[in-house]
Amino acid sequence: MANMLNIDDLKVSLEEEEKQIIKGLSLSINPGEVHAIMGPNGSGKSTLSSVLAGKDGYIIDSGTVNFDGSDLLEAEVEERAALGIFMAFQYPIEIPGVGNMNFLRTALNSQRKTRGQEELNAADFLKLVRGIAKDLEISDEMMKRPVNVGASGGEKKRNEILQMCLLEPRFVILDETDSGLDVDAMKLVSKGVNNFSSSSRSFLVITHYQRLLNYIVPDFVHIMVDGRIVKTGDKALALHVEETGYKDFLQLGKEKH
């Protein structure tokens, strides 16, 4: 089967300072697969997600990223979204003055337009978004606010999942979506993700906790240290990390230098 995402020996530095963050990372993800990435703070997990989503401020030193067989790094941010790539932000930002509903509808219809699909009318959109909000227990009041303004950490994370469900991407990066969620919210979010998963959708789940992986069971668990994947295993690897931390892997990161 053709890979959905194929990252080959990717090296990425910061634009502002001469510092390489991703130092030769390879990863292939097939449709329907769930991959988890764990790793110490600062190992480059969010940088990897940002690069995949197309954020600027990075220099690709070498390597390639292919999505559905074409060069992802060439695509604009909004084109990547329309291709079906979605990143749930580790720290979702607030956008004062931009209404949540207006934002969601614009996002959805922009993507549809890019893909040559018809735009959703106001009534259908409302029905769709209300249904999703209800499942995620996001209040009407919350939906009426400007994007994420005044939302708690957990509410913002739920909002990310709402956006995911609405936009129906094929490749989802969850960057520590579990951090800051209470137990109930964690279940809601996991349920949301599980309902959403299918044989054609893939996930890259970045997390520090094995807990989330009880709900969203990964096919592969990767340990990332200092800009590289130093170990790949199955879900048992996550359990191992939970017990012993990263000390076994830090050495692996150095050896590869």
Binding site: V77, E78, G97
Partner: protein, 406 residues
């Protein structure tokens, strides 16, 4: 003045004012208040004159004008509840009620700031209205200015009197195809309320200098909203005298300018002369293509104006490096029990917000538009009338959607 008929009272007032008049050339070199203004583009040639203006949008009327002023001719739609007359008739009339009002506020306005263009206006008005509002009206009075290319310099002089307890809304729109200089003296009686919207659009290809001087009595309200859409050169001067307790006032302005070297220049002076008055000033400027926006907002608080609540916020969104936002907030306070705040910022479009929106598939231009709309919303929110606010928001949204496609 020879061809204009004038009364004795006007002639003697004129004589008095003429003795103390200043030339703009002298003043602009000396006064901080004028220095950065760029009004000497009078000689610029008009490149193109299109018939569209702010009250029209894609062929549909945003507002139906009731009073149209074409050059020095006034055309009034019929059957109105207000009393309106030509200012030129009034200053020719010995017994005119305007005798007690005309020029009084202009003269007062010269105390703290030299305003030579307002003085010029008092000396040779060409057209204008005297409006008296004896009863409230829900429907706005729409005034449409159409300055003609054939007129070199149009001095428009207006007088507005809002009686006790009366509420009214005035919307001023139009274009100006020659230099336009207006002075509007406004008197608000107790509990009177005037919402004034000054909408200036792309067709203002010649300098437009507007003065509004307003005397306010106890518990009256004056809300002024200014819109400058790619105006070549506007200078707006507002001076308010809050003379009784419990007065409320809001001055808001939105300038969206992206044509090279265009500018808007907003000057506000709010004199708090009585206790428990509230004033708000909200300025938002979005600038691209080496444009300039100037904001000078001053709050003066007299010793007796205790419990004054004065708020001022001036913010700009600079979409290119060479656009400039020149902002000079001033507070002059002689009372001790007051709350006055002012803040000013200049920033570019927030990169993080932009990335967030793009990452959800929103197209770049659209995302910028939405951020601009968000940026100016605080100023639009100063408009009380929801109908007018949403009509204007829509208008601005459509206008903004072309902002990046030029």
């Amino acid at each position: 003045m020879s061809h204009v008929n004038t009364s004795d009272w006007y002639n003697s007032l004129r004589q008095e004012l003429e003795c103390n008049s200043l030339s703009i050339e002298k003043v602009s070199r000396r006064s901080e208040y004028w220095r950065k203004s760029n009004l000497d583009i009078v000689s610029d040639l008009v490149q193109e004159i299109s018939e569209t203006d702010l009250i029209n949008l894609n062929g549909t009327h945003l507002y139906e004008p009731e009073l149209t002023i074409v050059g020095d001719i006034m055309e009034l739609a019929s059957g109105k509840s207000y009393k309106i007359s030509s200012i030129m008739d009034e200053i020719a009339d010995e017994g005119s009620f305007t005798k007690n009002y005309f020029g009084k506020l202009e003269e007062k306005s010269q105390k703290l700031v030299p305003r030579p263009l307002a003085r010029d206006n008092s000396l040779s008005p060409k057209v204008g209205y005297a409006l008296s509002l004896p009863e409230s009206s829900k429907k706005p009075l729409v005034i449409h200015n159409k300055t003609k290319t054939s007129v070199n310099n149009c001095f428009q002089r207006n007088l507005i009197i809002v009686n006790k307890g009366v509420e009214a809304t005035i919307i001023e729109t139009g274009n100006n195809l020659s230099v336009f200089n207006s002075v509007t003296e406004i008197y608000l009686d107790e509990n009177a309320k005037l919402n004034y919207l000054d909408l200036t659009g792309e067709n203002n290809i010649f300098p437009k200098i507007s003065h509004k001087f307003c005397d306010m009595a106890e518990k009256s309200t004056f809300n002024h909203f200014g819109l400058r859409l790619n105006t070549k050169s506007t200078r707006n001067e507002i001076e308010l005298h809050l003379n009784g307790p419990g007065i409320n006032t809001s001055i808001a302005n939105v300038s969206l300018i992206n044509k090279k070297h265009h500018f808007s220049d907003e000057n506000v002076l709010i004199n708090h002369n009585a206790y428990e008055c509230k004033s708000r000033q909200v300025f938002k400027s979005v600038l691209e293509n080496d444009c300039t926006s100037i904001v000078r907002g001053k709050i003066y608080v007299a010793p007796e104006a205790q419990k004054t609540d004065g708020y001022q916020s001036s913010r700009s969104l600079l979409l290119n490096e060479n656009s400039r936002f020149l902002c000079k907030p001033e507070l002059e306070i002689y009372a001790d029990d007051v709350i006055c705040s002012h803040g000013s910022t200049s920033s570019s479009l927030d990169k993080e917000s932009l990335f967030y929106m793009l990452s959800r598939g929103v197209h770049k231009e659209k995302a910028k538009e939405m951020l601009i709309t968000a940026f100016i919303s605080e100023a639009l929110d100063e408009i009380e009338d929801e109908g007018i606010k949403s009509a204007l928001s829509n208008y601005i949204d459509i206008w903004t959607s072309n902002f990046f496609h030029e």
